[in-house]
Symmetry: C2
Subunit: 84 residues, 2 copies
């Protein structure tokens, strides 16, 4: 594997896992003040399309990264709209 | 262009632009309650690496999408840590 690829994998790991502390914070505190609901509507729709794209082109990295991010982002969206 | 590609482009557009309403909300209200600072530290680091990766592999779509997302995510990170 080229050294470039490691930068890509590290980038994907960071952007994917970054949603974990946000999900934990929202799940434990139920405080969604300051969080944009529109952001999570657009983001979750985008992730579903990314996942579909990953499956269509049969790229495991794209599918897995977006499936995981969806797992973290979906509860944030649900709690945001429930707490209104 | 294959029809798959359009799903990928739509996915990238949605996940990139989703940070715009969050940036506008944080810039106008200065309310960052509920937003995880750790998320934005990890996310911004990840975006910088994605941008580097896009430049290294000379992929304009990867570079542009991550440059734009960085433009929206960076003010959120700065305001989050200033408002402490």
């Amino acid at each position: 594997m080229e050294w470039h690829s490691w930068i890509g994998y590290l980038a994907a790991t960071l952007t994917t896992l970054s949603f974990l502390p946000q999900a934990i914070k929202v799940i434990t505190t139920r405080n969604t003040q300051g969080i944009s609901g529109l952001m999570y509507v657009m983001f979750v729709c985008g992730l579903v399309l990314w996942l579909a794209y990953g499956l269509l082109i049969e790229d495991t990295a794209v599918s897995m990264a977006n499936f995981l991010t969806l797992l973290f982002a979906l509860p944030i969206l649900v709690i945001k709209y429930r707490s209104r």
